[in-house]
Assembly symmetry: C2
Homo-oligomer: 524 residues x 2
């Protein structure tokens, strides 16, 4: 390499200026330097080096990418990917320095875990703090996730991890004796019970400040569906006011800085498709504890295309949840449910919002499975109230729903958060459609959650709110050849074609003799 012909003016390290590079690297901080940047050459950086960038009294670690393109960064600039730039909290052009990063302090503990050692409480706190502060690269995060995978963490280590994740962010205190919440481990399309359970238990008077995520790999999360009805991105102070007035909210949890290490870990667990019991327990319970919950009802669906595929597996997972919850002093009630098929009829934000509102209105077309499941979960949650006798919750929940008090509460929450004026009686669905029909006479013997979710996503959900899948038949329904199984809605032609190709490859339905209908025995 000929270092005489550096085409940029040579500048000192201190004079580099920060630049926002509009590249979304999904929660990994990436810094961009020009190959001819004086500092780059001098420090002997390599692409993928970990560097530390300081500006405005803050510092972050980032992975270094090197470029020859002055349109991305000039020789006197440090470029930062979107998230990383936002972390620094400064304007473009702010002076900044860059240096070879010292490895995060907790790397020694990570190496001990990689070598198979059991880690201490302090080790987990150190690792999780570094993760929450974005001091781990994607490669190190991946190493942590693999080294703490199935079987590598004993239950006490899972507790330490959970505790450390709670401590990594904000912890809300509602100043209430009882703060209830419900959560599902996920994987079942259309499963919008939270939007029914929350108004039911709040109408009874329990405090239920529900914060939810948006969809990561599914066609809609609770936050995406609620967003059809109301504003879900609210500052925390406003949420507090709504909760004091209405006992509940249904908002997006992304702005609250609850268990931020969890969000970082998910960024590698998802592409690796790793969802080990220890990590799932730490993820869910840390979020709930950070949100200030005292009582939690947890839904574990089982089925051939659910996250948990057998009852022994569900029972084992339940015991781990219960052990950690007990150590955290969280009152936990685990409900194992039927996860053989989607819940409700609609899959996609608008379609799911329609189903929820129909149930709240006791509409004759309201999906009964969604209503039943919501009532059972709400009943279990109501029984957290010491004034309600065990076994009475379901009937109380049903009364609240049938009487219209749940609808009234929901409308109050929607109004408080800011209504979007959704017309659920005539929802605007994606105008481009195709239908999937029964290929033969028989009974619906299987519905593949994963394939239905995929078709709905390809159709545009959740980004295109009005896109998705509307199911006409559920398990056990008799069909004739040519009967409608489901209708796909999209707004864009290319989306429709992607969804059609996927549905033609596999539509997710199995139609056969009634004897082949799979049964699942779940407890309530």
């Amino acid at each position: 390499m000929n270092d005489d012909k550096v085409p940029c003016d040579r500048v000192g390290a201190a004079r580099l200026s920060l630049r926002r590079v509009a590249i979304d690297t999904y929660r990994e901080n990436v810094a961009y330097l020009h190959r001819d940047c004086d500092v780059y050459r001098a420090e002997g950086f390599q692409a993928l080096s970990k560097v530390e960038i300081r500006a405005n009294g803050r510092r972050i670690l980032a992975t270094l990418n090197v470029t020859n393109d002055q349109r991305i960064v000039k020789c006197n600039e440090i470029g930062l990917s979107e998230d990383a730039f936002a972390h620094m909290g400064v304007e473009p052009g702010h002076p900044a320095t860059i240096s070879q990063a010292e490895p995060p302090e907790s790397i020694a503990a990570l190496h001990r875990k990689i070598d198979g050692e059991r880690l201490s409480r302090d080790d987990f706190h150190g690792i999780v703090r570094d993760i929450a502060e974005h001091r781990y690269s994607k490669i190190e995060l991946s190493a942590f996730v693999v080294a703490t995978n199935r079987g590598e963490l004993d239950r006490e280590e899972v507790f330490y991890l959970t505790e450390a994740m709670i401590a990594s962010g904000r912890r809300v205190n509602w100043n209430e004796r009882l703060v209830v919440d419900k959560h599902c481990i996920g994987g079942i399309p259309g499963n919008r019970t939270s939007m029914l359970v929350v108004p039911i238990v709040a109408a009874h008077g329990l405090v239920c400040p529900k914060t939810s995520s948006r969809a990561i790999t599914s066609p809609a999360g609770t936050a995406d569906t609620m967003e059809v009805l109301a504003n879900v991105e609210l500052p925390f102070d406003r949420l507090s006011e709504i909760v004091s007035e209405h006992r509940a909210c249904l908002a997006w949890g992304g702005t609250a800085n609850l268990s931020p290490a969890d969000d970082v870990l998910i960024s590698v667990e998802r592409p690796l498709s790793l969802d080990s019991p220890g990590q799932m327990v730490a993820s869910i319970l840390s979020k709930k504890m950070a949100a200030g919950s005292t009582h939690l009802v947890l839904d574990i669906p089982i089925g051939p295309t659910a996250k948990v595929r057998s009852m022994p597996e569900a029972q084992k997972l339940r015991r781990l949840f219960e052990y950690v919850a007990k150590r955290l002093d969280l009152s936990l009630d685990v409900v194992i449910t039927d996860g053989r098929q989607p819940i409700g009829n609609g899959i996609g934000p608008v379609l799911e919002a329609r189903d929820v509102m129909q149930v709240l209105e006791n509409h004759p077309h309201a999906p009964m499975d969604l209503r039943q499941k919501a009532l059972r979960l709400a009943g279990r949650l109501l029984e957290c109230d010491p004034d309600i006798r065990g076994g009475d919750g379901y009937a109380i929940a049903r009364d609240i729903l049938d009487s219209g008090r749940a609808l009234e509460k929901m409308l109050a929450i929607i109004k408080a958060q800011g209504s979007k004026g959704f017309n659920h009686l005539n929802p605007a669905l994606g105008a481009l459609t195709f239908e999937v029909l029964a290929p033969a006479e028989g009974v619906v013997t299987g519905i593949n959650n994963l394939q239905i979710a995929r078709v709905a996503r390809l159709a545009g959900a959740p980004k295109v709110q009005a896109a998705g899948v509307d199911l006409a038949c559920k398990l056990g329904d008799p069909v004739h050849k040519g009967d409608l199984l489901y209708k796909v809605h999209a707004e864009f032609q290319s989306d429709l074609e992607f969804a059609r190709q996927a549905a033609e490859k596999s539509n997710g339905y199995t139609v056969g003799p009634a004897s082949e209908l799979s049964h699942v025995f779940v407890e309530f």
Copy 2:
């Protein structure tokens, strides 16, 4: 998100055009799409999604980064990072398609390894093939490296891994009964014995086609140092000609596609600082087998700042090397050497080239430790010749060196590869210098390999060939207060300052009473 206001013209998937994005992502394929690209929105991609890009009958997998900046990619373009673009072998603007990538076939085997299972020969072949074809993301590579770390691979699995890595690339056949090579596991600055061993054994008549790497984390690799003397980037056909004529070469191995999976794995092992025995054995032996070697002398230095820190550790590593070599039918001779300090005086390409040439010329200032070590290794390698009796190698090597035949061979190799006209009697060293002096009277009792290497790198090596560290004292040398310990050479003021700051923090030398001099017992 309002999808009505897409500011780009909507285009079909098939019409996207390829663009080279001048970002070096260090062996990870990265694809860039504009956030408003029709295909991006339609497919429901997420940042970090794995995508498959097809063009020109080729396909690659890449990690997706999403950008808002039309200067990086336009809405109708797919940007590819430098390596990824080169893989496609097309001109900018070539039409291409992008789709959600199916996971690599071998991911199921990776998951089994993560779960602690022993993998089969076929599993390793599948994984390594996918790695060599760049079908693994950085996250998946990291998962593989951690899941096959220390203790996770038994020795037969290490053999399978090595065999699969050999099969992942080109395998050279020299059509010779005996093809000898030497290799050091690394970590000792200045350790340029290859540039002496190769001309010695080639002068004797053995075939020794040496391909080396450039420095990754060290101040100079053999290829960097040889490049001071001669051209090292030669097409393989030219290398073959040189080897037929001169029995040897000293070239960079990067263009030969030998064990390409190894290069990909190193891209995550390095930032993780993972260098487990199994991975080291597979890496080294796969490269040597792919290069067509039949006989290998392997140097394992031990010392407090070497890669291997104790004799039991070295012995264990040796047994693993020997087991795998035997399964591969490679004749292996392991030599455990003194790794307590740098070898030779100079550290950095020009300084190391000077030392090598001084030894070849039997110059009075030639560093004796470099000469001795090279003679011992060359002697062991000469004993691969069935006509040489065990124990006679050293004396023969010394005769070849002392007689000038090694120098003559080296000059012939330099001329064949293309001489750079290096003047080793008066080498042009970096003109900016500072000196590190002894703080007190005593004996040099320790030299930290890692710190000396760091100072040399900060001074500019290996990119700035004339930069580096020139040692004036070695272990056991008596010094008075103010005596020169070493001199640092740089070409740029900022480099000099970085090196000075590091040396002021810790200069890497310990001076104390002679009784504190550490001893190491190594076998030869």
